[in-house]
C-alpha cells in the first residue's frame, strides 16, 4: 500500500492505496464519487474523464498513485452548490444526453475545451470531443449544448466586465433552431 494525498473537489484526502489501483476506482470505490463512469478500461470512450490539475484526463488510464499531490475535479465538483456550471446547464437545456452514462465525461471534456477555446466552432467541438463516445444521442445535441454553454459563459463574462449584455442571447437561437425542425 502507498499513501497518497489528493485534493478532490476542494477537499483534501489522504489514503493508503494499492499501487495498482486506477484513479477511477479510487474515486468511485474509496470516495464514493460514482458520477465518474467506466465504459471501456482502455481510454477509448472518455466516460471516466476528470480534471487533474485543471486538465481533462481519462481516469481509467491513470494510477491513483500518479495523482498524489494533485488537484482533481469530478462531475460532482463542477456545480457551485445548486448553481450548475454552464456546460451542465447546456446539456440539460439542449438535451445533450439520453441515457446519461457518457454525460459526465462529455461535460468534463467540454469544460476543458472551453477553458482553452472559449469560442469554438462546431468543428472545433467535434474534434475536441473525439475521445468521448456517445451511443445514444447522435452527438448533435452535445455540440449544441456546448455552443449554448460557450455563449452563456461569454455573456456572463461580459456582464462581469460591465459591458452591455445582449437581451437576446445567441444561445437561445441554438435551442430554437432545433425546435423548428420538429
Amino acid at each position: 500500500m502507498t499513501k497518497i494525498s489528493v485534493t478532490v473537489n476542494g477537499t483534501a484526502q489522504t489514503h493508503e492505496v494499492e499501487p495498482r489501483q486506477l484513479l477511477v476506482y479510487y474515486l468511485r470505490e474509496k470516495l464514493g464519487l460514482t458520477g465518474t463512469h467506466i465504459g471501456c478500461d482502455t481510454s477509448s470512450c472518455g466516460a471516466c474523464t476528470v480534471h487533474m490539475d485543471g486538465m481533462a484526463v481519462k481516469s481509467c488510464s491513470i494510477l491513483a498513485v500518479q495523482a498524489d499531490g494533485c488537484e482533481i475535479t469530478t462531475i460532482e465538483g463542477l456545480a457551485k452548490g445548486d448553481q450548475l456550471h454552464p456546460v451542465q446547464e447546456g446539456f440539460k437545456e439542449c438535451h445533450g444526453l439520453q441515457c446519461g452514462f457518457c454525460t459526465p465525461g462529455m461535460i468534463m471534456s467540454a469544460t476543458d475545451l472551453l477553458q482553452n477555446n472559449p469560442d469554438p466552432t462546431e468543428e472545433d467541438i467535434r474534434h475536441a470531443l473525439e475521445g468521448n463516445i456517445c451511443r445514444c444521442t447522435g452527438y448533435h445535441n452535445i455540440v449544441r449544448s456546448i455552443q449554448w454553454a460557450a455563449e452563456k459563459m461569454k455573456t456572463s463574462a461580459r456582464a462581469l466586465d460591465g459591458a452591455p449584455v445582449s437581451t437576446s442571447p445567441v444561445y437561445a437561437s441554438v435551442n430554437l433552431n432545433q425546435q423548428q425542425q420538429v
Partner: protein, 739 residues
C-alpha cells in the same frame, strides 16, 4: 400555470441528476459488506474443462471464494427455469452448470475478493486445462447445413402468394443479388453490471442493468429457487442497452449466486471484452430476386434469409416480412433459415430484423429502379402498399407519402441527376440515395399505479425501464396532462420489481404500452376523485358524470361551467384523505386485431466519397418519420437522430470480426470495434409528419426507438452507388470496397 403537457418539448425530468453525476447505475450502489466478483472467461470455443486449478488464486490474501462448475451451489436444472421473457426456443445457457464449453469467452469461474483489484489479480492466476473440440464459427462453411427451426422466435415465414417463380421469369426487368452484414455488438456505454445486496435471512436486493426488472426477478426466482418476496430488483438508470439488456446476462447470475453463498453483498461488472461474450446482431445473408414490368410495376419478390444462431437456441428475427409491409406485389415467396454456430445466441439489437431485412430490400429495390429506368422515389411510390400483405390487413395509419413529399423537398431531391458519378466536388464524388422503412407499433398489456397526496403531489409508477429513451419524462408529461397538474408536481417511478407489472422495454412499444397504462390509471384516479366529491350531499358535482368534468390547473371542474371547481388539494383535505390511490391494467383494444400497425420513414442521404482514398463521409441526412402523435419533440428528435447515427455505424463501421482459428471476436474493445464518433456526424435533419391514429392505442403514439435506424444503411449504400457507380452489398461499406 401550464397544464398542456403532451407535445411540449419538455426538458428531461432526470436531466439534472444526469449532469451532476447523481444518477446511479447498477455498478454504483454499494453496501458496507460489498465484495467484488471478477469473471474468468473460457479461452476456447468448444470442448470441456479438463481441470481448473484455483489454488494459487485462493492463496491471495483477500480472496473470499472462487466459484466454478465443481463447487457451485445447487441450481435449477430444467431449461424452463432459465428461460426468460425474451428467450428464443431452445435450451438456454446455464452458467457454471457443467464443464462443457459452448462458446468462446464463456464464463467459467467467478473470483470474489475484498477489492476489485484483488479479484482481478486472482482471476489472472486461475489455471485452466481444456479438452478442445473442433468448433465451427465460419458462417459460409456452415451455410450448407442451414435449417428451418421447429419453432421461430420471430413471425414464421408467411406462405407464398401468387406465382412468384413464374412472375419472376416472365418479368421484363429482373435483379437477383446477395446482401449481407456481419455480426455486430450493441456496445452500450455502460458495461453490464449487477450489485446484489445481502439483506439477511436469505433476502436480496439486486441493482441490475436490465430492460425490465421483472425479467431479472423471475430469472433469479427460477434459477435459485427464491420466493418473490425475497428478491427485489431495481434498475433506476440504465446506461444504454439497445436490446443487450432484454435478457438477464450472466453477471446477474454470478452476483446473485455469490451473494447467496457468501451471505454478503457482491458486485460483478463485465469488462468491455466480455461485452462481446453474449448476444449480438446475427450475421445474415439474404438472397433477393425482384422482377418488374416495363412500366415499373413490382411483379415478383423472392426473398431468402440465412441468419446465424447458436447451437443451443434458435434465435430468429423478422428479416423477411418487409416486402409484404412496404410494397404492393402479387407474387411473393419468403424463407428464413438458421445457421447454427459455436457462438453465444444472438440477441435483439436495435430494430432486430428490420435493419437487416430493410437494408437488403431497399438496396434491391434501388437496383431494380435503375433497371426499369425510373427515379428511385417514383418507383417506390408506384408500388406503394396500402395494406400489409403478410397478414392481409389495412394499416392503422400510414403517412409515408407525406414523408416522401416533405423529405424530398427539404433534401432537394428534384435536383438529382440519376446518373452515377455525375456529381463531384474536387476529388470527392457526391451521391444521393434514398430508402424507406417501417417498424411495428405495438401495444402490450401493462399495469400502473397512481397516488395523489393532499399536498397535490402525484406519483405514478410502473415496473418499466428508461434506457435513455425518456420514459421518466414522457410518462410524467402524460400524467401531468391527464390530471391537470404542473409537471413539477408529478413523479414517475420505474425500474423496481415491486411496482405494477410492465413488459420489457423494447420493440419501440414502451410509449404506447406504458403510456396507455398511465393514461388509464389517471382516468381511474379522476373517477375516484369525482366519487370522493360526490360523498358530500351538497357537492356541486353530485349529479355529474365523469364525462362532464375536467382536470386542469390543479382543479377538478365542470366543463360546462368552469367556475364550478375544486382544487384537488382541497378535495382531499375536505374528505380527510392523506392520499388517494388507484391501480389499473391497460390492454390493447380488440379493434387493433383488424389492423396492421406500423410506423414509417423515408431517409435521404448525401455522401462524399474521396475518389483517391475511398473514404466515405455522410454529409447530409434528412429523415422524415410518420410515427403517430409526438409526445415530446425533444426526446423524439433525439431518438431519431440517435437512430440515424446508428445507421451510419451499421453502414460504414460496425463489424465484429470473428477469428475462426480461435472462434472468438477479436476486435472486442472500443478501440477496434468502431462506432460513430462526434466527427463522423454532419448535417442531420428530422421531420415528423402529422399522423393521426385512433387505433394503435389510446394515445395515438407509435414509438420511435427503432424507426430512426431502419432506412439509414440502405440509403447510404444507395448513395454510395450514386456517387461511385459501385453497388456494395456487403456491410460495412469500407474504403477497400469502393476503391
Amino acid at each position: 400555470m401550464v397544464t398542456k403537457q403532451i407535445g411540449k418539448p419538455q426538458n428531461r425530468v432526470d436531466g439534472r441528476d444526469k449532469v451532476t453525476g447523481r444518477a446511479r447505475y447498477a455498478a454504483e450502489f454499494s453496501a458496507t459488506d460489498l465484495a467484488y466478483g471478477v469473471v474468468v472467461s473460457s479461452a476456447i470455443a468448444k470442448g470441456k474443462i479438463k481441470e481448473m486449478d484455483t489454488s494459487e488464486a485462493l492463496r491471495v490474501e483477500g480472496v473470499l471464494d472462487i466459484f466454478t462448475s465443481e463447487n457451485r451451489p445447487k441450481l435449477a436444472s430444467y431449461d424452463s427455469s432459465f428461460q426468460d421473457e425474451d428467450a428464443p426456443p431452445g435450451s438456454p445457457f446455464r452458467p457454471l452448470f457443467n464443464r462443457d464449453i459452448l462458446f468462446n469467452m464463456q464464463p467459467i469461474a467467478l473470483v470474489v475478493a475484498e477489492t476489485y483489484e484483488l479479484a482481478r489479480y486472482a482471476a489472472s492466476l486461475v489455471k485452466v486445462e481444456y479438452e478442445t473440440e473442433e468448433h465451427v464459427t465460419n458462417f459460409e462453411a456452415e451455410r450448407t447445413n442451414a435449417y428451418e427451426p421447429e419453432e421461430y422466435k420471430s413471425t414464421p415465414p408467411p406462405d407464398p402468394w401468387g406465382k412468384p417463380e413464374t412472375a419472376l421469369k416472365e418479368a421484363e426487368h429482373r435483379i437477383s443479388e446477395v446482401y449481407s452484414h456481419p455480426s455486430q455488438h450493441h456496445n452500450p456505454m455502460e458495461m453490464h453490471a449487477s450489485t446484489a445486496i445481502w439483506e439477511g435471512d436469505g433476502r436480496i436486493t439486486v441493482y441490475d442493468k436490465i430492460q425490465g426488472v421483472l425479467n431479472s426477478q423471475e430469472y433469479i426466482m427460477g434459477v435459485f429457487g427464491l420466493a418473490k418476496e425475497d428478491v427485489r430488483v431495481l434498475s433506476p438508470f440504465v446506461g444504454g442497452a439497445f436490446g443487450s439488456g432484454l435478457r438477464p446476462q450472466y453477471q446477474l447470475f454470478m452476483a446473485v449466486m455469490a451473494t447467496l453463498e457468501l451471505k454478503r453483498s457482491v458486485r460483478v461488472v463485465l469488462t468491455r471484452p466480455q461485452m462481446f461474450s453474449f448476444g449480438h446482431r446475427p450475421k445474415t445473408v439474404q438472397q433477393l430476386s425482384l422482377g418488374a414490368s416495363a412500366d415499373g410495376t413490382l411483379e415478383a419478390v423472392v426473398h431468402h434469409a440465412f441468419a446465424e444462431t447458436s447451437r443451443f437456441e434458435d434465435y430468429s428475427e423478422d428479416v423477411i416480412i418487409w416486402p409484404g409491409v412496404l410494397y404492393k406485389c402479387e407474387n411473393v415467396k419468403l424463407s428464413h433459415k438458421l445457421v447454427g454456430l459455436d457462438v453465444y445466441t444472438p440477441l435483439d439489437m436495435r430494430a432486430p430484423g428490420g435493419t437487416t431485412g430493410i437494408f437488403a430490400l431497399e438496396c434491391a429495390i434501388d437496383e431494380l429502379s435503375y433497371k426499369v429506368g425510373m427515379d428511385p422515389v417514383e418507383f417506390r411510390l408506384k408500388n406503394y402498399s396500402v395494406k400489409d400483405q403478410n397478414v392481409n390487413k389495412p394499416f392503422s395509419s400510414k403517412e409515408l407519402q407525406e414523408c416522401y413529399r416533405q423529405g424530398a423537398e427539404l433534401f432537394g431531391w428534384k435536383n438529382r441527376n440519376p446518373q452515377p458519378r455525375s456529381m463531384r466536388e474536387g476529388h470527392n464524388l457526391i451521391g444521393w440515395g434514398v430508402a424507406n422503412g417501417a417498424w411495428e407499433a405495438t401495444q402490450k398489456p401493462s399495469g400502473a399505479k397512481a397516488v395523489l397526496t393532499k399536498e397535490g403531489k402525484l406519483t405514478v409508477s410502473s415496473a418499466t425501464a428508461d434506457i435513455g429513451t425518456g420514459t421518466y419524462t414522457i410518462m410524467s408529461q402524460i400524467a401531468a396532462e391527464c390530471m391537470g397538474l404542473p409537471i413539477e408536481n408529478v413523479e414517475f417511478k420505474l425500474g423496481d420489481s415491486s411496482l405494477p407489472q410492465s413488459p420489457l422495454e423494447g420493440g419501440s412499444w414502451t410509449a404506447s404500452t406504458v403510456g396507455s397504462a398511465v393514461k388509464l390509471v389517471c382516468e381511474k384516479l379522476g373517477e375516484k376523485l369525482l366519487e370522493l366529491a360526490q360523498e358530500s350531499d351538497d357537492s356541486p358535482f353530485k349529479e355529474v358524470s365523469i364525462e362532464e368534468v375536467e382536470f386542469t390547473d390543479g382543479q377538478m371542474r365542470l366543463k360546462e361551467d368552469t367556475s364550478v371547481a375544486i382544487p384537488l388539494t382541497q378535495l382531499l383535505k375536505e374528505n380527510q384523505k392523506d392520499s388517494v390511490q388507484v391501480e389499473a391494467e391497460s390492454k390493447p383494444a380488440d379493434e387493433q386485431e383488424n389492423y396492421s400497425p406500423y410506423s414509417h420513414s423515408v431517409v435521404f442521404v448525401e455522401v462524399n466519397v474521396d475518389e483517391d482514398l475511398g473514404t466515405i463521409k455522410v454529409t447530409r441526412v434528412v429523415s422524415a418519420v410518420a410515427g403517430g402523435r409526438i409526445l415530446n419533440p425533444k426526446t423524439a428528435w433525439s431518438q431519431i437522430l440517435g437512430g440515424v447515427v446508428w445507421g451510419i455505424g451499421m453502414a460504414l463501421e460496425e463489424y465484429s470480426v470473428m477469428d475462426h482459428q480461435y472462434g472468438r471476436f477479436i476486435n472486442h474493445d472500443l478501440a477496434e470495434y468502431h462506432v460513430p464518433v462526434n466527427a463522423d456526424v454532419h448535417d442531420v435533419e428530422v421531420i415528423f409528419v402529422d399522423e393521426e391514429d385512433q387505433i394503435v392505442n389510446p394515445l395515438g403514439v407509435k414509438g420511435l426507438g427503432e424507426i430512426g435506424i431502419v432506412s439509414v444503411a440502405p440509403a447510404i449504400a444507395n448513395a454510395v452507388y450514386h456517387a461511385t457507380g459501385k453497388r456494395v452489398r456487403d456491410l460495412p461499406i469500407t474504403l477497400d470496397k469502393v476503391m
